[in-house]
């Protein structure tokens, strides 16, 4: 029985790998579908709340979506809940599926190490932990120098900007 549910878990998580390519989303409230990722762009259609869309990509605070009918356009990212209406989504975005595949490969047929990969961080775990000052010292080995950080930024074409911090709704910075 236990083995069966493990198998089922593995089967389900391999399925999520495929679904990542086409991410789905759910429109939260009635939203205008815009021709471009700008508030003053032309409105193409009105998307009703709870309607499903395919999410194509994100640009700044906007997402390009394809509603169930036809055509595509842009909506604010705040108007979308990723994963869509399907309950119990695991939110396995990014590299999670690669990791899961690696864990399955390691576990072979038994699936044993699927469980050993689980390391939680509950409040109890944190309170009951034995401090590990050696691990803190080990961080020094991984530390970057400023010139390393600068050249890493340069190679990714990141250029510094002068920007003030943002005020909150009450004007407080």
């Amino acid at each position: 029985m236990k083995n069966l549910s493990l198998l089922l878990t593995i089967f389900l998580s391999s399925m999520s790998i495929a679904s990542i390519a086409a991410e789905t989303g759910q429109i939260l409230v009635n939203t205008d579908l815009k021709s471009e990722p700008f508030a003053d762009a032309k409105t193409l259609a009105s998307l009703p709340g709870n309607s499903a869309v395919d999410v194509l990509k994100r640009q700044g605070g906007w997402m390009q979506v394809k509603p169930a009918g036809n055509g595509q356009g842009w909506v604010k990212m705040t108007a979308i809940k990723l994963g869509g209406a399907a309950a119990g989504t695991k939110g396995d975005s990014g590299m999670t599926s690669l990791w899961n595949t690696a864990m399955q490969g390691r576990s072979g047929n038994t699936g044993v190490t699927v469980a050993t990969g689980v390391r939680g961080l509950s409040p109890e775990d944190m309170k009951n932990a034995t401090p590990s000052p050696d691990a803190v010292k080990k961080l020094d080995n991984y530390a970057a120098t400023k010139s390393q950080a600068e050249s890493a930024a340069k190679s990714a074409k990141l250029s510094k900007q002068n920007i003030d911090y943002l005020a909150d709704a009450g004007g407080k910075k």
Binding site: L82, G83, P123, A143, T145, A153, K157
Partner: protein, 284 residues
Amino acid sequence: MMARLSLLLGVLLLSSGSVQAFNLDLNKLLEVGKKTTDLKEVDEKGEAEIGSASAAQLLGAAPLVQNEKLQGYVNQVGLWLAMQTERPDLPWRFGVMDSDSVNAFATPGGYVFITRGLLLRMRNEAELAGVLAHEIAHVLKRHHLVAIQKNAKTGLATDLMSMAVDNSSSQYGEWKKKALSASTELYARGLDKGDEFEADRLGVVIAARAGYDPYGLPSVLQALDSINPQDSNLALMFKTHPSSRQRLDLLDAAMTGNLERYASQPMVADRFEKVVGDYARRGK
């Protein structure tokens, strides 16, 4: 440390205008502490000590991932971000913790941690930068330190007072122990919501200053909002933070009209996929 601590206490006592301050109302004392601008200055070494002790506690709960390349990468990204802030010269240390939990932590003095569970859910370096910058902001604003100091319930303030009477090393050890326990409790309970929102607002600016698409953090919040809230890997993050949806909405409102012009800055997906993807594919 010892000298600094007594100095701090001296400052507190002097400002209160009373040497016989031991029966002082705690609130009054804390008020004085808040107003004393020297407090932060004096406290920097103490901050480092509480920070490394708190980091040791966190790493005792979940160890570092044993992958030098990954850790080095996160440190380069993190330091580049920290260099765009008011505290560029702290001994910043970044680490990936080997845990399925989805979370990130900062401890005073410049320690920043992200869990494997959160890192693997990301899609590009701008997302990583957004989360690291949020944690960096907690350190910049000394959110944890101030919360520990404010927390009269821990009796920490009382202990600080008694240090003035007898600052023997055993007393100091006791004080440090209490500070650490207050700090551990804080990581289990979380900061004020206002501190989290502030760190969000600072974080997106720090990421934009460093040249990244500032929507990395909102993008992570949106991804977190899609995870089943019953997922135990999110229990601590959900307990200690306002809802991802609320954070996303407030951030978007604050960013609109201010940071949109930086939205076309790089997300740096290639390098992220290479380093983090390589780690994920090998599973170690």
